[in-house]
Amino acid sequence: MPTQATPQAEPDRVTITLTVNGKPRSLALEPWTTLLDLLREELGLTGTKKGCDHGQCGACTVLLDGRRVNSCLALAVMQDGASVTTIEGLAAADGTLHPMQTAFIEQDAFQCGYCTPGQICSAIALLEEDHAQNPDEIRELMSGNICRCGAYPNIVAAIEQVMASGGEPAP
C-alpha cells in the first residue's frame, strides 16, 4: 500500500480566463494541463476526442479564436483570454445544427463518429481559411484528421455541400 503521504501543498496552479463555447470561465489550472484534458476531464466536454495525444490524428481539433488547433498539443495556461469553440458549441441555442453538422449527417460523412467532432471543427476552419477551392485541395487540407472508418469521400462531399450553399443551412 502506498504510504499515506502527508498532504503536500497543491502544486502551483495558474489562473486563466477562457471563453468556452461562448461562456467566459475563470480556471485555476496545473500548468501542464493540455487544452484537451481541460475540456474532457475538467469541463466534462467529452465531445472533443483523444485519438493519440501526440498531434498525429486530429481527433482533438477545436476552434481556438476561430482557428483549428490540435488541443492535445496546446497547453491550456497559454490560452489565457482566448475563445474556444468545441463540437458542443456549434449548434444554435435552439438546437439548430451548424450547416457543417447537417452536411455531415446528410452525406453520411462518418461511421463510428469518433473522429467526427475533429473533422467538423477542422472543416469549418478550412472554409474560413478559404484556401481550398476544389476536392483535391479539400483532401489535402483535411489530411490532418484521420478517419479510420475511411469516410473520406463523404467528408469531402459534406464540405463541398457547405461550400456550394455558401455556408447556409441546406434547404
Partner: protein
C-alpha cells in the same frame, strides 16, 4: 397505396445527431462520482521474467491510491477456461499481472491508480521494473521452419478442405505455371478511439461497466468468470464504440485492470490506453502465402496449391481462414490447400477486418494476374473462363452468387475494355497509368440472436438487442426494419443496443450483424403485430373483422386492408380497443439449419483499380476504385455504401501503407504511433465507386441480407498490386507496396 418502405431506401443515420454534436458517449466518457484513474505500465522486454518491481516512488506521489503488480494483485479464477472469452482461440488466454513471466513486449506489468489521470500517468513513469531477459523470437521468416498444423481448431474457423484430385501431378504436367510467395506485414487495428473501460462502482457489489467492446455480453461473461461475480451484479453498457474492426471482439486487458482495481478499491475506476499501448494486444498476423497455379495454354486452371503460415503467440493458436478461398473462387479439379501457424514472442493476433480473407485472396488474385500475363489473356477473361458455379470445397450450390454480374457491371463502369494489355503501355503526362482487377469473397453468415419489441399506446416503438454499432449503422437499419413492420416513421422508433441487460446477441463481427439482429428485430416486431392485429380485429365495428394478417398492411400508423387501404384502424385505436397500454414480445431468430447443410453462402465482389505512378518522383496514387458488390439485399444504400468505402480504404492501407515493423533484436514493434504507422488519410483517397449488384437471396437470412462489413477490403489490395504491375511492369508480392520496393526490383529469390 403503400408508401415506400424505409428498408432499401437511403436513410441518414439515426444516431447522426448524437455523433455530430458530441453527445454520443464512448467508453472513457461516462462520468462517475469519485472516479479514480488507472494508467498502465508496459513491459520492456519480449520474453523472460520480472525480477523486481519498485513502486516506492510511484506510491509516494500525492494522489496515488494504489499500484497493482503481479505481487499484490487480487486473486482471480484459477482455471484457464474461466479466462476464456466467447471467441478465444484454443490455448491459454493471457492474464494481465498474473505472475512474473513476460510473454511479449509491451505486456502490462503494473497499473497505477490515482485520483486523476495526470497523476496516474506521472506516477506510472516512476515504476521501476527489473527483468531477466530470455531468448526471444519475433521474426516469422525464421520461425516458419517450425510451423505446425494447429492441433485444435478454433471454433467457427474452417480448416482447409481435404485435397481434391492430385494437385502435385497436375501442376507438374501443366503447360503454364505460376509459383510464388506472397507476404503481408503485421497490421494493427488502430481504431480512432483508444481502448478504454470505465467501471462505475454502484455500491452493494454492483458494477456498471462501459467498455470498448464489440459485444457487451462477451465482456460481461469474461468479468463474471474471472472475478467470480454474478451476472446480476455486472451490467455492461457500450452504446457507442469508436471503431474496433476486430480489436474489440475479445475483452482486452484494460477491462481486466479496470474491474480489478474497482473491486479492490471499492470505487469507480477508468483505465484508458495510450496510442502506443494500442500496439500491445490485437493485431493482424503477419502471413506468408505460397501459391502455385497450373493451367492449360488457354488459361483453364488445372491445379491450385496454396499454403499459408500465419504468426501466432506462444500461448494461443489464433487461426483464420486464409487459404480456403483458393479452392472456392475458381473451378479447378486439382486443389491442395494448407494452413499452419508459427509461434512468436508476441501477443496473440486477433481478427482484423475480414480476418484471413484479404491475406489469402491477395496471394491468389495476384497469382491469377501473373497467370493471365503468362497466358496472354485479359485478366477479366481469365476469371470468367474459370468461373466456379458451385462451392467446390464443399460440393454445394450457392444460396446466390452474382459475381458474374459484378464483373460485368464493374468492368462497364470502369471502362475496362479500353485497357491496353501490355505493362507500361498506358501513360498520361509524366505518369504511368495502370489498371488492375481482382475478385473478393467473404462468407455470409447469420447467428442466433434475440430481440425485443415494445409498442406503447403513445404510438412509439422500442426495439432492443444486446448487439453493437461500431460505426456499421446497426442503429439505423434496425430502426428501418422496425418502422416498416408497423408503417411508422423512423422517428417513432427507439433502438436500444449495446447493453448486456437486453436480449442476447452474439458479438458484432463477421459481417453477420445486419442479417442476425435485423432478422431478430423483425421477428419480434411481427410477434407484436400479431397481438396488435388481434386487438384490431376485436375492436367494435372493426373493418378488419374478417381479415387475416396476410391481407392487411401497416401504413402510416394504421392497419388497413391491403386490397382496400381506405378501410382500416389506427394502431393506437387498436391498442385501446384491446385495453393494451403496451405490447411486448421477445423473439429469437436462428439460421435455417437445413439451408446451411444444403447450401453455401458467400458475398462476392469485383474490384477494379487505377493507379498512377510518377517514377521520377516515386509517387504512387490510387486514383480510382470501382467495386461491384453482390451481397443480397441492401437495407440502406447510404450506410451500405459507406461500409464498403471504408473497407476499400482499408484495402488501400493494406496495399500501400500499413505495416507494423519489429526490431527483432529487441523483439519489439518500432512504429507504435500514428505518425509512423501509416493509415490512409484524406489526400490518399480519390474516387471510390460502389455498385450494389442485384442479388436475391432467400436462404442466408430471413431478411435476405448477406452482410457488408468485410467485403470491401477483400481483394482490394490485389487489385491495386495488379494495377501497379500493369503501370510499371513490377510485380511486388510483399505488402505493403512502399516506394522503396517500387523503386528497387524485389529480391529475385522471392519469385521462385
Amino acid at each position: 397505396m403503400l408508401k415506400e418502405p424505409h428498408v432499401g431506401a437511403p436513410r441518414s443515420r439515426v444516431d447522426g445527431r448524437a455523433k455530430v454534436t458530441g453527445e454520443a458517449k464512448y467508453a472513457a466518457e461516462f462520468p462517475a462520482p469519485g472516479l479514480a484513474h488507472g494508467h498502465v505500465v508496459s513491459g520492456a522486454i519480449a520474453r523472460g521474467r520480472i525480477t523486481g518491481i519498485d513502486t516506492t516512488a510511484a506510491c509516494a506521489v500525492p494522489g496515488v491510491l494504489e499500484v497493482f503488480t503481479h505481487e499484490n494483485r487480487p486473486r482471480t479464477a484459477w482455471f484457464d477456461y474461466k479466462h476464456r472469452d466467447e471467441v478465444a482461440p484454443p490455448g491459454s488466454p493471457f492474464r494481465p499481472l498474473y505472475d512474473e513471466t513476460i510473454l511479449y513486449s509491451g505486456q502490462p506489468v503494473a497499473l497505477v491508480v490515482a485520483e486523476d489521470s495526470g497523476t496516474a500517468r506521472h506516477a506510472a513513469s516512476l515504476v521501476r521494473v527489473e527483468y531477466e531477459a530470455g531468448a526471444h523470437e519475433t521474426d516469422l521468416l525464421r520461425a516458419r521452419e517450425d510451423a505446425y498444423v494447429p492441433p485444435k481448431r478454433r471454433s467457427g474457423i474452417s480448416p482447409p478442405p481435404k485435397p481434391r484430385g492430385d494437385a502435385v501431378a497436375a501442376l507438374a504436367e501443366a503447360p503454364l505455371r505460376v509459383e510464388a510467395e506472397y507476404r503481408i506485414a503485421t497490421e494493427h487495428h488502430n481504431p480512432m478511439e483508444m481502448h478504454a473501460t470505465t467501471v462505475v462502482w454502484e455500491g452493494g457489489g454492483k458494477l456498471t461497466v462501459h467498455d470498448k467492446i464489440q459485444g457487451v455480453l462477451n465482456s460481461q461473461g469474461y468479468i463474471c468468470n474471472v472475478f467470480g461475480l454474478s451476472k446480476e451484479d455486472v451490467r455492461v453498457v457500450s452504446p457507442f464504440v469508436g471503431g474496433a474492426f476486430g480489436s474489440g471482439l475479445r475483452p482486452q486487458y484494460q477491462l481486466f485492470l479496470a474491474v480489478m482495481a474497482a473491486l479492490a478499491l471499492k470505487r469507480s475506476v477508468r483505465v484508458v490506453l495510450t496510442r502506443d499501448q494500442m500496439f500491445t494486444f490485437s493485431h493482424r498476423p503477419e502471413t506468408i502465402n505460397q501459391v502455385a497455379l497450373g493451367a492449360a495454354a488457354d488459361g483453364m486452371l488445372r491445379a491450385i496449391r496454396h499454403d499459408a503460415i500465419g504468426a501466432t503467440s506462444r500461448f494461443e493458436d489464433h487461426q483464420e481462414v486464409v487459404v480456403n478461398w483458393s479452392g472456392l473462387l475458381y473451378h479447378c479439379d486439382n486443389v491442395e490447400l494448407g494452413y499452419k501457424l508459427a509461434q512468436l514472442d508476441i501477443h496473440t493476433p486477433a481478427d482484423m477486418r475480414a480476418p484471413g480473407a484479404p491475406l489469402g485472396v491477395f496471394a491468389l488474385e495476384s497469382a491469377m494476374d501473373e497467370l493471365a500475363d503468362k497466358a496472354g489473356i485479359d485478366p477479366l477473361e481469365l476469371r470468367l473462363k474459370n468461373y466456379a458455379e458451385t462451392d467446390e470445397n464443399e460440393g454445394k450450390p450457392y444460396t446466390s452468387k452474382e459475381l458474374r454480374a459484378a464483373y460485368r457491371l464493374g468492368a462497364e463502369r470502369f471502362g475496362w475494355s479500353r485497357r491496353s494489355a501490355a505493362p507500361r503501355s498506358m501513360r498520361e503526362g509524366r505518369e504511368l497509368v495502370g489498371w488492375g482487377l481482382a475478385s473478393g469473397v467473404w462468407e455470409a453468415q447469420m447467428q442466433q440472436t434475440s430481440a425485443r419489441a415494445v409498442l406503447t399506446a403513445d404510438g412509439r416503438l422500442e426495439v432492443a438487442t444486446a448487439t453493437a454499432d461500431i460505426g456499421t449503422g446497426t442503429y439505423t437499419i434496425l430502426a428501418q426494419i422496425a418502422a416498416d413492420a408497423f408503417g411508422l416513421p423512423m422517428e417513432s422508433v427507439t433502438v436500444r443496443i449495446g447493453d448486456s441487460s437486453l436480449p442476447k446477441s452474439p458479438i458484432e463481427g463477421g459481417s453477420w450483424t445486419a442479417a442476425s439482429a435485423g432478422s431478430a428485430v423483425q421477428a419480434a416486431c411481427h410477434a407484436v403485430r400479431e397481438t396488435l392485429f388481434r386487438h384490431a380485429r376485436g375492436a367494435e365495428g372493426s373493418p378488419l373483422g374478417n381479415a387475416d394478417l396476410d391481407h392487411v398492411a401497416f401504413v402510416d400508423g394504421r392497419i388497413v386492408l391491403a386490397a382496400d387501404p381506405d378501410r382500416g384502424i389506427g394502431l393506437i385505436e387498436a391498442m385501446r380497443a384491446g385495453g393494451a397500454e403496451r405490447i411486448e414480445h421477445e423473439q429469437t431468430a436462428s439460421p435455417d439449419k437445413a439451408n446451411q447443410k444444403r447450401y453455401s453462402s458467400y458475398t462476392h465482389s469485383a474490384i477494379f483499380a487505377e493507379v498512377r505512378v510518377d517514377e521520377e518522383l516515386g509517387v504512387l496514387r490510387v486514383t480510382c476504385i470501382v467495386t461491384a458488390v453482390a451481397a443480397g439485399k441492401i437495407l440502406n444504400p447510404k450506410t451500405a455504401r459507406s461500409q464498403v468505402i471504408g473497407g476499400v480504404v482499408w484495402g488501400m492501407g493494406m496495399a500501400l501503407e500499413e505495416e507494423t515493423l519489429a526490431d527483432h533484436r529487441l523483439g519489439r514493434f518500432m512504429n507504435h504511433n500514428l505518425a509512423e504507422y501509416h493509415v490512409p488519410v484524406n489526400a490518399d483517397v480519390h474516387d471510390i465507386d460502389v455498385i450494389f449488384v442485384e442479388e436475391q437471396d432467400s436462404r442466408t437470412s430471413p431478411i435476405g441480407v448477406k452482410g457488408l462489413g468485410e467485403i470491401g477490403i477483400v481483394g482490394t489490395a490485389a487489385a491495386i498490386a495488379n494495377a501497379i504491375h500493369h503501370a510499371t511492369g513490377k510485380r511486388i508480392r510483399d505488402l505493403p507496396i512502399t516506394l522503396d520496393k517500387l523503386l528497387e526490383r524485389p529480391p529475385a529469390e522471392r519469385a521462385r
